[in-house]
């Protein structure tokens, strides 16, 4: 299968600290790659470099073979790379429906054509489908800020899917979510993945969540990849256990 995302020799340092050190990996079409690692191992920095939020010091990022290293996040998103955030990032005063329409509207036509187009940019139905897919129908008109934390996490994920992305990067989707909601979120992510043959990269601390969701796991420690493999192998890998349990 072809690689959707290729990262080669990526390096990013802040002052004297090298947060991401010569990291190379690829993400194949249709897989769910989990990225785990202890705190400070460079997961978020890696994400931000891949997504154009930070400029790496060296290395290259390619999406479907196209170099994207110096691309702005908005252009990268329109290329089909979408993300969720570790800390909640919805638009609290917009309704759930408007949050979703916003997440898709910039993919429709040009800026000028949107000015003269319909208010919902032709995304009303798509938003409705996404709302019912994530079982948020009873909340469609509520301002997103009035939703519970777990519901906002669902909305956050739904927003990432609105434009029918090629690749979705999920930054700690399970963080701070209770167990019931977590099971629901995992089940919905899996259902979406099965339905659209989507490609996911997931950063996560919650081991159970990663092991149950991901098809392949990559372990970072001190900015380097120390192991890659199937979830059940990673769980038994002595190097990984060493990195997590300490020196």
């Amino acid at each position: 299968m072809s690689a959707v995302l290729e990262v080669s020799n990526l390096r990013k340092s802040f002052g004297g600290i090298t947060a991401v050190n010569d990291v190379s990996f690829e993400v194949r079409e249709g897989e769910i790659l989990g990225i785990i690692g202890p705190n400070g191992s460079g997961k978020s920095t890696l994400f931000n470099c891949v997504l154009g939020q930070l400029l790496p010091n060296a290395g290259e990022v390619r999406v479907d073979g196209k170099p994207t290293t110096r691309m702005r996040p908005c252009d990268l998103n329109r290329l089909g790379v979408s993300r969720t955030f570790q800390l909640l990032q919805v638009f609290p005063q917009l309704s759930v429906r408007d949050n979703l329409i916003l997440a898709g509207q910039e993919h429709r036509g040009s800026m000028l054509s949107r000015l003269f187009g319909k208010s919902d940019a032709g995304l009303g139905d798509a938003a409705e489908r996404m709302i019912s897919f994530f079982q948020l129908s009873h909340l469609a008109e509520e301002p997103a800020g009035a939703l519970s934390y777990g519901q906002q996490k669902l909305l956050d994920a739904a927003m990432a899917f609105m434009a029918g992305p090629r690749l979705v990067l999920l930054d700690e989707p399970a963080g701070g979510v209770n167990l019931t909601m977590l099971a629901h979120l995992r089940e919905r992510l899996r259902a979406y993945h099965a339905e659209h043959n989507a490609t996911f990269v997931v950063i996560e601390h919650q081991m159970e969540f990663v092991m149950a969701l991901c098809t392949r796991v990559l372990v970072l420690a001190e900015g380097r990849i120390i192991a890659v493999g199937a979830p059940q192998d990673i769980r038994r890998d002595p190097v990984v256990i060493e990195a997590y349990l300490g020196h």
Binding site: D98, H107, D120
Partner: protein
């Protein structure tokens, strides 16, 4: 908008149309000024209330628009052409002023725009060959449309009111399009907006340009209304006053500027009975209002109507159209 809102809007429109028949010359001048300043405040509300970019330069754009129209009509241009030119010029300058907003935010941006206002004031005062300096420009002619002369006070008021209706309808229409949603996203969470494919750079510049353009068009009405323009009218005072209108009315509420401009134009007049103290009383009222309803008068009304319609507790900062950033 709910039914009560439509009724209120209709009633307000009727009052605005019949009012000049019950007012004397100075009263008509005041409500004309209200219409003109409302247009400028709508522009600032777009930049500040919707897109979340603080600007203390709106008064300068009113000045640029006023001088553009005054100079061009003096040079023999037809008023409509001069009007369009004022709007277009302010659009272009506003676009340029948007660039600092891509780098700095909040009070830093306020300082950048404040410096711009001072710069415009100095140009208007010092470039005498163009602007006639502190002596100002008198007698900007009021236009004639198909035989309808707007020379009289009442006629000119209706011209201003018509322009207000036209420009606010255009703004309403724009805010209903996906652009309105994009502007709000810019205000609420620019980082998330960027990750959703929203070109925040272009929308920021656009918010500044359109807001400034409305300021320029207000200026294009201001010059023929007051008949005498001079640099001091467009100093920091006017920019602060316009900011006050947006905040008092309710920043981020579509009708906020209408209410805010009404308060800012009429309240000083109503407090005149206190004679020498009227500006003092006005200032005190503004301070009290800001302390008790920071989301402006429309924010207060929204909160009250919410409390009456449903008793369920809702977080106070959540309402339909927005709050102060």
């Amino acid at each position: 908008m709910n039914r009560l809102g439509v009724i209120a809007l209709g009633a307000a429109a009727i009052v605005a149309i019949v009012a000049p028949f019950f007012l004397r010359r100075y009263g008509i001048y005041l409500i004309s000024m209200w219409a003109v300043l409302t247009i400028a405040a709508i522009g600032l509300n777009l930049t500040l209330g919707y897109a979340g970019q603080v600007s203390l330069a709106q008064g300068a754009f009113v000045g640029i628009g006023a001088y553009t129209v005054a100079l061009l009509t003096q040079a023999g241009w037809a008023y409509p052409a001069a009007f369009v030119c004022a709007g277009a010029l302010c659009f272009a300058i506003g676009w340029g002023l948007g660039y600092p907003a891509l780098r700095v935010q909040h009070h830093y941006l306020a300082f950048v725009t404040l410096a711009f206002t001072t710069l415009v004031f100095l140009v208007l005062r010092n470039e005498e060959w163009l602007t006639n300096g502190i002596y100002g420009i008198t007698g900007t002619e009021r236009p004639v449309f198909f035989g309808w002369s707007t020379g009289g006070a009442r006629d000119f008021y209706f011209f201003c009111l018509g322009m207000l209706a036209l420009l606010s309808a255009a703004t309403w229409w724009m805010l209903r399009s996906p652009w309105g949603r994009a502007f709000l996203a810019l205000r609420e969470n620019p980082i998330r907006a960027l990750s959703l494919g929203l070109d925040t750079r272009r929308y920021t510049l656009m918010a500044f340009a359109i807001g400034s353009s409305l300021g320029g068009m207000a200026g294009a009405l201001y010059a023929p209304l007051v008949q005498f323009i001079e640099p001091n009218s467009f100093g920091l005072g006017m920019s602060f006053n316009l900011l006050l209108m947006v905040i008092i009315g309710g920043s981020g509420y579509f009708f906020g500027p209408f209410v805010g401009a009404l308060v800012a134009v009429l309240l000083p007049e109503w407090t005149r009975f206190t004679e020498g103290y009227y500006l003092l009383v006005y200032a005190a009222l503004v301070m009290i209002m800001m302390a008790f309803c920071p989301s402006g008068l429309l924010g207060l009304i929204g909160r009250m109507s919410k409390a009456m319609t449903r008793r369920a507790p809702t977080p106070p900062e959540l309402h339909a159209e927005g709050t102060t950033p």
